[in-house]
Symmetry: C4
Subunit: 394 residues, 4 copies
């Protein structure tokens, strides 16, 4: 399936055309009024770049070493559950694409494909996301599987003490149990290819061992799922315990404040992912780009700081790095690519971003990621003060 | 009538579908150009929350004690006149719903159902709103009735020295006397169920003793109504006099400045409601959330500060409390619920807000309302300065 | 012709319905991209009012004494040329309406009705606007006529060294000579009543003595018109000379800076009208409300400061006065009224504003215009910082 | 072909009507999400002018001397490649129009008409734009041709180390090789006049000597084109070398920072063009007007500072000069004029801007460009603080 979308935005529109509404909304939507979802993207547009000229930029290098492994671009794949909803290839397609692009794939615990099914396809670092379950034997079991599968880094998601409310899903009836509105059901029937791709129904591959395979079964084991996914009683002590169990790189995902960054570093994490869960948890929190500087300042080099949320452009990547992130992760972009073109679509998404980062580096006068610091950001001076409104209609 | 709206916004749209335009506009509209009406809502979206993670939030408690009575959530029902326009159940449905939800209902003096008809249905604190009438015997009479009915707190509205102009009502001809435009009348005829619910025409239940039953009669007694409702000569002395008459909790509603908060406290009020009458009085005053901090600072703990206006989300509640309010009141949301589903609809509105507050608490890392202070608000730092305009169209 | 529009905005829409497009655009439009035209209105919406409660506002008084004459409201009629385009009644209707409302009417030199035709209908102060013509005998002649007609104050317009370009007029072909586009001509033919009202074609009544009666003749005397209207060589010396010729109140209109206010006061003016010619001269200058404070500060009580531009609401009037204006003038509102309902329409426009000012006074806690100062303006404090974008769609 | 568009904006719409979409988008579009493209225009609307009155402005003079040559207005024609796409007349029409208007025309190296074909039509300064090619004999060859052709000034473009991505062109398939979408091709066929004007296909006139004539040949010589156009290894040393080769005025185009302005001056340039390549290179860089003040400050009079990008109005010109630019260049406006009316259309565009500058000078109280400094800019003071949102819909 050839993929020609010239931007991630076009890829998103391709996904919208191919997917039934309920699947697209599941991928695309956010919590509540989606204020944070939109702000994640808008925050990047509020930052202006200050390009330098006439520096030799014939050779640009966007590789980076992260936790001892080299990545070919500063864009990793973020953990996203239920990828099969976006495309049949699911997580295996994702990990293969990441390998082809030379970057890390973070497998969600709520993935459809099991860790053991995904790992053999890996040709780049495989990361694993997990939650701080109260049943510690589940964690230790998963860590054992992770070691066997060659997982490089562990990413603990901490912003789901309870599950956010994605209103689009509720409106569509894309809930457990399914309660599709007629209009939504009719739309599904107009997408027979997608419908066929849902048979057999995707399982939660990593949780099969825990007796949870389908959303239906999850419903039947509501208490179990609650324990597995949203663990409201988790504390920093649980993170410290995970730190003791896992000898490899450990990241915490879902931090938006300097105070929590400090706490996390005190627990021994190696990295912090500034994230608001793609605007899918608490609506009204800052765009991740707005939250980044305080976390970077707090980390003070003691831990790597990454960011996800709203990254749709190579210049977004560059802005995040200029504000102190070491790399970014993309969630929706890889799912748009998966929906638009399977594994090739995911590669296309990553290659788009790579080429945009490369162009941005050249046009900024930088030859490597090391050149991306506060000096490449424009700060307004002089008489042309910013003012709202009053624009002529050109 | 089952109510499934996933947000107050959906409930509003349900109300819009069920009500004829003139009734919906009466509930939904504001004064003049509705600048303040819109700003009330927009102000909440301008505030960003700073969530903390990995605090044990397994048990969240949003109860609060207010003037010696416990409420199960920090959302009370604001006084709104003429509720029967929104739904047949009117005030009785509202007070029953408030009781089911465990929160206070504030009966408007301009309610359709009389205090004595409403009070027996109360299972939670019943509050009474009144105006500072020049005829003091009307006040004392009402206070006697309030005592007999078991009213817990008195809320004196002070922002109606004259009545604001709700332009939608004027345009619709929903005035005294009625002057419906043909288009508006035709729209009413397309809502026979609503039309039937208006027979017999709703009276001003609390004012029957004063000889005012219907808007028609009100017109015939224009002077009386002026004296009853809008009393432009009222002063702080009148408030002091009410204070002497009423031994229970006394609140003043309609304060937007620190100076008036000071005056009110000097008069001995127990609580101040920061309110702009839902944007229905003077257009161009600040959003209540923007006015709140100065009032909280002036009150300095000497009186409880509440807020109404623009609250549509659990996160709005949380933001108001973080900026110093003890609780909020909701007017339109309960009327949307009433229109959409009668008593059950009102319960639904309150339960929506409760569940949203609960989720917000968990996601902020707070286990009780006591945790909501300035620390849960995000303040921008660093390079990603806010700037208007220039957003890509995602 | 009964006029029921509940706001000036509705009156504007009435005018739009009644007038052919070219006439409406002539009244409604501004220079170039109309950035300043829109900003004049928007500036008022950027200001927030701080209402005080429980002050005795039973009696409100919006009269003011201006240059020794009492006006019944702080809203005067601004000079506007060619009023006959908006309605047959023209300037006579305007001056009669102003008299009925108890406020001053400023007759434009470019009026259709001559000073001598207008003056007998005056029952309130009549003001006369004029330009600083190079031919001083024209000025002295007009001043003689003004004295005989009982003109109270003279208003010298200084912001037309050259004439601004109103692009709507150019696009419509409403130029000298007429070059109507077919679409525009067809639209005129659909308004036969308006077309008849243009016969006989309106003359420039005040200039007949100078040999200029119609736009056609004006064209034939291009040099003369240039000398009469736009006098680019005028300087402060010319204003000083007028000051010597005129013993009554003298105002200068078209000042937007403190420096020019200073110069004008040094020339002996009694009043300064902060004006950008209704956004019809230089596009891109500040909204008059934004320019007002610096002029007020510069005047420092040595001259009255008035404002025109963008006033559409009683709260706009109140905001201008709170920022230091003594009164405001309205141009388009009176022409909308004239188009919508002739003399009665103009009265309606003024009475709308009067009732809105009255309501605003009451709701602000003020009993007279003297109470309108910086204290009635809200200034943001605390945590709810303003931020653009990101509003939920309510 | 008579051209009557009253503004550059109308001229743009004329161009849009006459050109097939792919040609219009080629002229009109920018890089990526076009954030900078829009901001270039919007930045001018954010600046407010402070007009002074009653200064004798009977004679306005907008001539300026630039590098020893007089120009009749402070607006020059910017270099734009492939002008034949906008209109058959191409560069020759442009240079003739510039001569008629009395201003400089900057010929792009990527022009269709060769320098030798253009030069004979010149009656005003002819400037030449070029890139810093790695093959220095190409540069020296072109400089020799420039001397023979009487080129006055040399403008070295430095913001194309790699070529920006104009997404509209990619979406249209207006790429090398052509890959037109059916919809786009059909649209071309509906413009037979334009299609005929493309035969014979335009060559890159200046590069014929290098063996590159058409886009097709350019493709066949991809390496060569890369060397000719985008030279990522160019450094300040290359600029210094050009300085040594060229005895006439030398400008550098594409500078947005004070640091690069300093470097350029150290290399001996005579002028700096603040430019973001019309928003066609790196999206997300500042509007040129926002970047201007820092460059002006850095230049400190040691080099002339010019600006291009977003200039559509005489007031835009005035604002740029008030912020320190000596003159501005216009790219799209001349191409809109070319598309709308050939050579006459270009003259029309320049005369529109001239008349707008003239009117702005008069209305600002200035008689020459020397009067345009910070004093003509309005800076907000007092109570009417800027605030977003909340505008009534007038």
């Amino acid at each position: 399936m050839p993929v020609a979308a010239p931007t991630i935005g076009d890829l998103r529109r391709d996904a919208q055309r191919r997917l039934p509404r309920l699947a697209f909304d599941f991928v695309d939507g956010g919590a509540d009024d989606e204020v944070t979802l939109r702000d994640n993207v808008a925050a990047f547009d509020r930052v202006r770049l200050a390009p330098r000229v006439l520096r030799d930029v014939a050779r640009r290098d966007q590789t980076l070493e992260l936790f001892g492994r080299e990545l070919s671009l500063p864009v990793l794949i973020a953990p996203t559950g239920m990828a099969r909803v976006a495309g049949r290839g699911g997580d295996v397609a994702g990990v293969r694409a990441a390998g082809r692009a030379g970057t890390a794939f973070t497998l969600s615990t709520m993935s459809n494909d099991a860790l053991e099914a995904v790992a053999p396809h890996t040709t780049a670092p495989l990361w694993l996301q997990l939650y701080l379950w109260p049943r510690r034997e589940v964690v230790t079991g998963l860590l054992d599987r992770a070691r066997r599968a060659g997982v490089h880094a562990l990413m603990v998601t901490v912003d789901v003490p309870v599950i956010g409310r994605r209103v689009r899903d509720v409106r569509n009836g894309f809930t457990v149990p399914l309660a599709l509105r007629p209009r939504v059901a009719a739309d599904v029937l107009r997408h027979p290819r997608w419908l066929r791709s849902m048979y057999p129904p995707p399982t939660f591959g990593n949780l099969v061992a825990e007796g949870v395979r389908t959303p239906g079964e999850a419903l039947a084991h509501a208490e179990l799922v609650t324990q597995l996914l949203a663990h409201p009683a988790a504390t920093w002590a649980d993170l410290r315990w995970v730190r003791e169990q896992w000898e490899g790189p450990l990241l915490i995902k879902g931090v938006l404040t300097a105070a929590d960054a400090d706490e996390a570093i005190a627990c021994g994490v190696d990295g912090i992912v500034v994230s608001n869960h793609g605007g899918r948890q608490l609506d009204g929190v800052p765009a991740t780009l707005d939250a980044l500087p305080a976390v970077v300042e707090a980390a003070a080099g003691r831990a790597e700081v990454l960011l996800d949320g709203g990254v749709r452009r190579g210049t977004d990547v560059v802005k995040a790095l200029a504000l102190g992130a070491r790399a970014v992760l993309v969630g929706r972009p890889w799912l748009y690519g998966l929906a638009a073109g399977g594994e090739d679509g995911v590669v296309h998404a990553l290659e788009l971003l790579r080429s945009e980062v490369d162009r941005a580096l050249a046009l900024l006068g930088c030859t490597s990621l090391a050149g991306l610091d506060a000096a490449v950001l424009h700060h307004a001076v002089g008489g042309a003060a910013e003012r709202p409104g009053a624009g002529a209609a050109w």
